[in-house]
């Protein structure tokens, strides 16, 4: 009881103090990694971790939904085909390279799926440092914003191939079913607060259904979001509503992830984290150097930051198959993402100062 009281108090104090500190110092580019650290710190308290785990699913569903809502085919169709092909190739290449690296690092090749989670680029970090002025910069920003779409498509493809046939069918059926259901429910004549409530209900229902059938809530909600973004006229207000509540939800998500993952007390963890940082860092740096997108060489640091999507994909992978993916690797992955994010922001600031 005391532990719970302490946690709520600590979270409340942290939430408002981080909010004050980061707003004043404008370093929100850490994309909330501070809450992940807080989660790690609180992970040793007896909080009934087993009971907290199902709470993570709706957060994954919400993130997937939010990303899906951003995918408007109207805009994607306007992008040059060449650009899309190159971005898809770049993303697939980076994922494959990191996967190969992880595969070499460990005796469990199944861990290579974490490569998917290590490939995203934080749009928030990049857009913070790169102004949207000039055609080159805009291309870079477009590129960064399209990468998550391809990563989620890759993730879906890998899931469909690797999952048992029944699970793959569940994944496809539920994606279609919930997309249609969300569309039908949100098309009713709601007031704004009603719209948000229906959305909360849909996301919770979708995510927990995915948890029951052991499929990815991130993917199923992502497709619901994509379907809505392209068929529902109310997509704009919906997006605005969920984006308004983004911060507290995202904070809770990172906090829960931190609490559930914890920091293991063994050398394997440190070794794994360090290896992931080195290998991912090197591949990311190499891929920035490919010049495919006329990436300015000074930009390399910004592209180190994987952002919140990395945590979401990693958590989704871990939640689905926690039994085969050791917890120590998940913790190592989280620490690696934090380090890469810090490298991205701190070096980015240094570059900016020059």
């Amino acid at each position: 009881m005391f532990a719970r009281l302490f946690v709520i108090f600590a979270v409340a104090v942290a939430y408002f103090s981080f909010s004050i500190i980061f707003q004043k110092r404008k370093i929100s580019t850490f994309v909330g990694m501070e809450y992940l650290i807080l989660g790690f710190l609180l992970s040793n308290l007896p909080l009934g971790q087993g009971l907290l785990k199902p709470l993570l699913f709706p957060f994954l569903g919400w993130i997937g939904f939010l990303i899906g809502l951003e995918v408007d085919f109207h805009y994607i169709r306007k992008l040059p085909e060449n650009f899309l092909v190159r971005t898809a190739a770049w993303t697939t290449g980076l994922v494959a390279a990191i996967a190969l690296g992880i595969g070499l690092l460990t005796t469990k090749p199944v861990l290579a799926v974490f490569a998917l989670a290590l490939a995203p680029i934080s749009f928030r970090t990049v857009s913070h440092f790169i102004p949207a002025r000039g055609i080159e910069n805009r291309t870079v920003l477009f590129f960064v914003s399209v990468v998550p779409f391809f990563i989620l498509l890759l993730f879906t493809g890998i899931q469909v191939i690797t999952l048992p046939l029944v699970s793959s069918l569940y994944l496809l059926c539920f994606s279609a079913l919930f997309a249609i259901l969300s569309r039908a429910l949100l098309s009713l004549n709601h007031r704004p607060e009603g719209l948000l409530l229906i959305l909360i209900g849909v996301i919770v229902l979708v995510s927990e259904t995915c948890a029951v059938f052991r499929i990815s809530p991130l993917i199923v909600s992502f497709f619901s979001g994509v379907y809505l973004a392209n068929t529902c006229k109310k997509c704009e207000p919906i997006y605005r509503d969920i984006a308004t509540d983004e911060k507290p939800l995202y904070m809770l998500f990172l906090l829960l992830v931190g609490i559930l993952a914890g920091i293991p007390d063994n050398p394997e963890f440190l070794f794994s984290a360090l290896s992931i940082v080195l290998m991912t860092g090197i591949f990311r740096w190499l891929f920035v150097k490919t010049h495919w997108f006329s990436l300015n060489q000074h930009f390399w640091a910004y592209f180190m930051a994987p952002g919140g999507l990395a945590i979401a994909i990693g958590t989704d992978i871990w939640m689905q198959d926690g039994a085969t993916l050791p917890k120590v690797w998940f913790s190592a992955f989280l620490v690696a993402v934090m380090v890469l994010q810090a490298i991205g922001v701190l070096f980015g600031k240094k570059e900016e100062a020059k």
Partner: protein, 438 residues
């Protein structure tokens, strides 16, 4: 009434329910963590309860009634799509929601309007306490004797049960009152008096319950009536009020020096208050009501708190009342329906007359005299707590009494909000075309 909207709402409800039924049927063949079940049920309940709320509004009823009915329909009593275990697991959400509702109830009460209506509030509260308690006691003793409820036999037990039923008759649900006031955005002296009486009665019922427990223990002979028990109860109430004052003070400090993310803050404040009250063993509702009252009346930040509450009250009400509806147990109703019906009718009559008398003696307006009684019919959380505590203390007759009380809550929770909505409309304090739930 828009029939196209109604048809479309019904179609959506049927579609979601069918899908949920299929998910449940499919999930039984897949091994999964049992902890997931309640959250799955929560997602479904949010959707259908909200849709039922909108449907209720379309049909001219309060949305709250729709939320409750959705809970009842899909809960264990009727269709059983949501199980008892799910409801028990989700109860924690309701205790937090209750803190939120209590904070908002306190926040809605303004000292200025309290001062203006102090005579009406004290007059109605006093007449309620005396007339409802006394009237119920006088009538229920022969009724309980006549109906011969299993477990409630022998003159001593009948008296003890009648005393407890009299306390229950005085009690009411602040949550339903505040939810209906919010839904219809009611403002004015009528609303203030109903809210004021509700708040004061919460304290009165706690005292009355403590007194009743003392007396019952004396009658039962198990523990002699002791002054220390009463002192302990008064101390408990005093401490809860003091904690509420302190908590309100802390909230003021936040609003004054931080004043950001006010919606998140009010939810965290309710959550923290709930945990704090349980940790120290305080009266959660009372503490939160006082805290809300302090922020509203002893600082300039009251409107900021109300803004935070208004932004987040819809999800909280929908979840709270649908879970409450699903938790209503009608299984005992068949065996005690006559006694329950008589009690409900008797209570309504006593509330009507005592409100009219209290209002008349204090020179209140016609609206208060005629319609304020409609605001005092619902009972929920506090009444249920009384039933649970009595069952724990006196299992032999407490158990059948709890069954009666639960059935009473079920009826009053359905009828009460509808009547209160009519009362509010008749009083002329409802904002035209107001609707926050749907």
């Amino acid at each position: 009434m828009n029939w196209k909207n109604i048809a479309s709402l019904l179609l959506n409800i049927i579609a979601v329910s069918t899908l949920f039924f299929l998910i449940l049927a499919g999930s039984s063949s897949v091994p999964h963590n049992s902890v997931i079940g309640p959250y799955l049920a929560l997602g479904f309940l949010i959707i259908v309860a909200y849709l039922f709320g909108v449907l209720a509004r379309e049909l001219g009823f309060p949305a709250l009634t729709g939320n409750l009915l959705a809970g009842i329909l899909f809960g264990p009593s009727v269709l059983g799509l949501i199980s008892h275990t799910d409801i028990q697991s989700l109860e924690f959400i309701n205790t937090i929601a209750l803190s939120f509702i209590a904070l908002s109830a306190g926040g809605e009460l303004k000292l200025k309007s309290l001062r203006e209506n102090v005579r009406a509030i004290s007059g109605i509260t006093l007449s309620h306490t005396l007339l409802i308690f006394g009237g119920t006691l006088i009538v229920m003793v022969p009724f309980l004797n006549l109906f011969e409820v299993q477990g409630i036999s022998g003159i001593k037990t009948i008296w003890m049960a009648a005393i407890m039923l009299s306390v229950v008759a005085v009690a009411k649900s602040p949550a339903s009152t505040i939810a209906i006031i919010h839904e219809y955005q009611a403002k004015g002296p009528f609303t203030d008096v109903v809210l004021g009486v509700t708040m004061v009665k919460d304290i009165v019922v706690l005292l009355l319950f403590a007194l009743a427990m003392g007396v019952i223990r004396g009658i039962g002979g198990a523990v002699p009536f002791s002054l220390s028990f009463l002192i302990q109860t008064f101390g408990h109430i005093f401490l809860s009020i003091a904690a509420g004052l302190a908590y309100g003070g802390l909230m003021i400090l936040f609003y004054r020096y931080v004043a950001r993310e006010i919606t998140v803050f009010i939810v965290i404040a309710a959550f923290l208050a709930n945990e704090l009250a349980h940790f120290v063993g305080l009266e959660q509702m009372l503490m939160c009501m006082i805290a809300g009252f302090v922020v509203q009346n002893f600082s300039r930040q009251g409107p900021l708190m109300i803004e935070g509450i208004e932004r987040s009250h819809l999800p909280i009400y929908v979840i709270f009342f649908s879970i409450a509806g699903a938790g209503l147990d009608f299984s005992y109703f068949g065996s005690v329906y006559l006694l329950v019906t008589l009690f409900v009718v008797l209570r309504a009559i006593l509330i009507f007359f005592s409100t009219a008398l209290g209002a008349k003696l204090t020179g209140s307006t016609d609206a208060i005299r005629k319609y304020a009684w409609t605001g005092f019919l619902t009972n929920a959380g506090l009444t249920l707590s009384i039933a649970i505590l009595v069952e724990k203390a006196f299992p032999e007759w407490g158990q059948p009494l709890k069954a009666i009380i639960i059935s009473v809550i079920a009826i009053n929770q359905i009828v009460g909000p509808v009547l209160f909505k009519i009362g509010l409309v008749k009083s002329g304090e409802v904002k035209p075309q107001s609707s926050s739930n749907g």
